[in-house]
């Protein structure tokens, strides 16, 4: 099984930073942005994010592909809120039959859609440019996460791509046994649930075998674990986290200066 399109792209000054630093920077950035409801702060933040994309060694085209589901949901938010929001303030921009779009509604909807993108993009960037093994190593070495958790999750994560192939196989096997749902939606749902349960059973059996194999190689045996791959958290990594905080703070400051800052609380 080859690695999927989600395989990390390595390269670019920021992509090479410590995985924990990248994760922390993304978290700080996103959480700070959540403080306001206006569209200006997320717009500024989004501009900053898009400007640093090349530093992560990621092309805009590749980013667009990874962002596709997010863009779709942002568009969904925009359309739904514009058409159906209860609060219709401000001057009317468009009145066509039952459709009534006011400037107030548009600003709110735009704000939410931009927020969604601005908050999610840092996470997409980090996971697109981080090798899962490196992340687990960094979690153990730099923030002292228990190896039982970090390495265990990593091992489980490796089994995930097999599930897709197994799902197909189970679905075919059911057909081969005479089970199909035709067009009946209830039977379709029941077939889906039964296949999902079958997959769960297989996954648990495989997971148990993997756990035994890990045990046999001394995992979690109580001996302090060493690390074959060093992960360092240096000044540049700290600078990345601070930079993210400053950039997010800057976006908030712009919205404050523009007089549109709308705090979530208060």
């Amino acid at each position: 099984m080859s690695r999927s399109a989600a395989a990390p792209v390595i390269g670019g000054a920021l992509a090479r930073r410590n995985p924990v630093a990248k994760l922390a920077a993304a978290l700080v950035f996103s959480v700070l942005l959540l403080a306001t409801l206006d569209p200006v702060a997320p717009a500024v933040a989004l501009a900053v994010e898009l400007a640093v994309v090349p530093l992560f060694g990621l092309g805009y085209r590749a980013l667009l592909r990874r962002m596709a589901p997010l863009l779709l949901s942002a568009a969904g938010v925009l359309v739904t809120l514009t058409l159906f929001a209860a609060e219709r303030t401000g001057p009317v921009l468009l009145a066509a039959g039952p459709v009534l779009v006011t400037s107030g509604v548009l600003v709110t909807a735009l704000g939410l859609a931009l927020r969604l993108l601005a908050v999610a993009l840092p996470g997409v960037l980090v996971f697109a440019t981080t090798d899962p093994t490196d992340l687990a190593d960094a979690l153990v070495q730099n923030v002292k996460a228990p190896p039982r958790f970090a390495i265990g999750a990593l091992a489980a994560f490796r089994l995930v791509p097999m599930l897709a192939a197994e799902w197909q196989l189970l679905a075919m096997a059911r057909r081969a046994r005479g089970i199909d749902a035709g067009r009946n939606p209830v039977r379709r749902f029941r077939l889906f649930a039964a296949t999902a349960f079958g997959l769960l059973v297989l996954a648990i059996r495989r997971g148990t075998r993997l756990a035994t194999a890990m045990d046999a190689r001394g995992f979690d045996a109580g001996v302090p674990r060493t690390s074959a791959r060093r992960q360092r958290f240096g000044a540049a990594d700290a600078a990345l986290v601070v930079g993210a905080a400053v950039a997010a703070g800057g976006s908030l400051a712009v919205s404050f200066a523009a007089g549109v800052f709308r705090p979530v609380i208060g």
Binding site: M1, S2, R3, D131, P132, T133, I151, L154, A155, R158, L159, P161, M162, E166, L169, L170, M172, A173, R174, R175, A176, R177, G178, I179, D180, G182, A194, G198, V201, L202, R205, R206, G207, R209, L210, T212, A213, M214, D215, A216, R217, G218, F219, D220, A221, V223, P224, R225, T226, S227, A228, R229, R230
Partner: protein, 474 residues
């Protein structure tokens, strides 16, 4: 270098009435190479798990003692290395080198010693790629080599191999055998205990054979030649693949094959199967063997013929002889499932993928019920198949608890339950003991002679010799 000692050892898994293994007395001296044999269900895998210290004390009941260098195996884990059957579920990391390093990290080996030891272990098993090679991109045989390197890197005094080639095709099995032979060549420091159905594969690696009996205890113990001279016939009857025991051959000229049931017309599926050059008919009363190297698309062809996937090139056409209603109609993959099971029986490589019910009897009743047979007729079909495939004592058992041979027999029986005219089997003899193998060959031969069409994808040259009327090599 480790010494293994078992005295009256037995183990019963919690919640089970029967002992998985019992009354085993065995001493293995440091540096000895032992092949452990026994009929399926004799408890070989449980025994290895106990020796590796992988049976938690609260997961069952123990009788007698087992020690490694005088220690309880649970406290001697660092002296024992083990390689299991399934390559997929024993590799931990995404990169090959990291996987070998995993055990060294767990044991607290200083970081500067890890990579030299990883490289040495990879070289020792003849691993042909760099440390960065993704483990997911390796073939099954190469994955098992890597698992072996992971065990050897820890320098175990006792190495246990639990059917390391059972899930592999012959080329993969050779890779593993060569790796074990190469790794242990000139090394008298590692004691070896190997469980392996394919005795001929394992014999060059060992100097002693121990045979467990199905009812418990050790039946025979000695040099390979002596054991096979004295017990060869009996072991073969128990299902052990003893070398030089004759197998049936497809004798005499076959009866002329019947009418075509299915025609694969230059069929292909991007990217898994390149379109076939010709029209391939599948006939009634004929066994067609599909051969070819790994990755040639054999399994995909089986799925296409079985009506389970749609072709991207060419077409699979069913004849009126197969549909039985005088009409040719749409391609098999467009049939409704109950229609499909009346016409084509599919047997997958891994029986467990096919099980959907909670008892063996329900599993057999499923197909006939889906076809709308009345309950009395369903019961008749189920009873007959339970008898015919020696599953009658297991009617109430959960399919997932069956042994490998039983699960295989059940998966074939479920395909027969709806009396389809065509059977499509993917590696039906994979990992089977000799007894199940002979039963399968006899059953498939009978079905063919009764006018069924048989398609079997296989690597098994003995199966081809015993059954095939025609070969298709991809």
């Amino acid at each position: 270098m480790s010494r293994l000692e078992l005295r009256g050892f037995g183990w019963r898994h919690a919640g089970r009435r029967a002992w998985a293994v019992r009354d085993v007395d065995l001493s293995v001296d440091a540096g000895e190479r032992v092949l452990l044999l026994g009929p399926s269900g004799a408890g070989k895998s449980t025994l290895l798990a106990a020796i590796a210290g992988l049976l938690p004390a609260d997961s069952g009941e123990q009788a007698g003692t087992v020690t490694v260098d005088g220690l309880d195996p649970r406290n001697a884990r660092e002296r024992v290395g083990i390689v299991f059957q399934d390559p997929q579920s024993q590799l931990v990391m995404a990169r090959s080198g990291d996987d070998v390093a995993f055990g060294l990290e767990n044991r607290g080996v200083p970081a500067d010693q890890i990579w030299p030891r990883v490289d040495a272990a990879l070289a020792r098993v003849g691993f042909r790629y760099g440390r960065d090679r993704p483990t997911a991109a390796l073939s099954g045989g190469e994955q098992q080599r890597l698992a072996l390197a992971g065990a050897l890197a820890l320098r175990p005094g006792l190495l246990l191999l639990d059917e390391p080639t059972a899930n592999l095709d012959p080329a993969g099995a050779d890779l593993v055998r060569d790796a074990v032979a190469g790794a242990l060549d000139g090394d008298r420091d590692t004691t070896l205990v190997i469980v392996e159905h394919r005795v001929a594969q394992a014999l060059p690696l060992v100097d002693r054979v121990v045979v467990l009996s199905a009812g418990g205890g050790v039946r025979a113990d000695g040099k390979p030649d002596e054991i096979f001279d004295r017990y060869g016939g009996q072991l073969a009857a128990d299902g052990v693949w003893v070398p030089d025991q004759p197998l049936p051959q497809r004798g005499g000229p076959a009866a002329p094959a019947g009418e075509p049931l299915l025609i694969a017309d230059r069929v292909g599926l991007v990217p898994r199967l390149a379109p076939l050059a010709d029209e391939v008919p599948v006939r009634a009363g004929e066994a067609l063997a599909v051969l070819g190297p790994n990755g040639a698309g054999k399994t995909t062809l089986a799925l296409l013929l079985g009506g389970l996937v749609a072709a991207t090139d060419g077409a699979v056409r069913a004849t009126a002889a197969l549909t039985g209603d005088g009409r040719v109609g749409p391609a098999p993959h467009r049939w409704r499932a109950p229609e499909l099971v009346r016409r084509i029986g599919n047997v997958f490589q891994n029986p467990e993928h096919q099980f959907v019910a909670t008892t063996v009897a329900d599993e057999l009743a499923l197909g006939p019920r889906r076809c709308g047979l009345p309950e009395s007729a369903v019961a008749r079909v189920v009873d007959e198949l339970l008898q015919r495939l020696r599953l009658d004592r297991l009617a109430a058992a959960n399919p997932y608890t069956l042994s490998g041979g039983e699960a295989r027999r059940l998966s074939v029986a479920t395909a027969l339950a709806t009396a389809p005219r065509l059977l499509v089997l993917d590696e039906p003899t994979f990992g089977q003991d000799r007894r199940t193998w002979l039963e399968l060959v006899a059953l498939l031969g009978e079905l063919r002679d009764a006018g069924h069409g048989i398609v079997t994808v296989t690597h098994d040259v003995d199966l081809v010799a015993a059954l095939a009327d025609r070969r298709l090599t991809l």
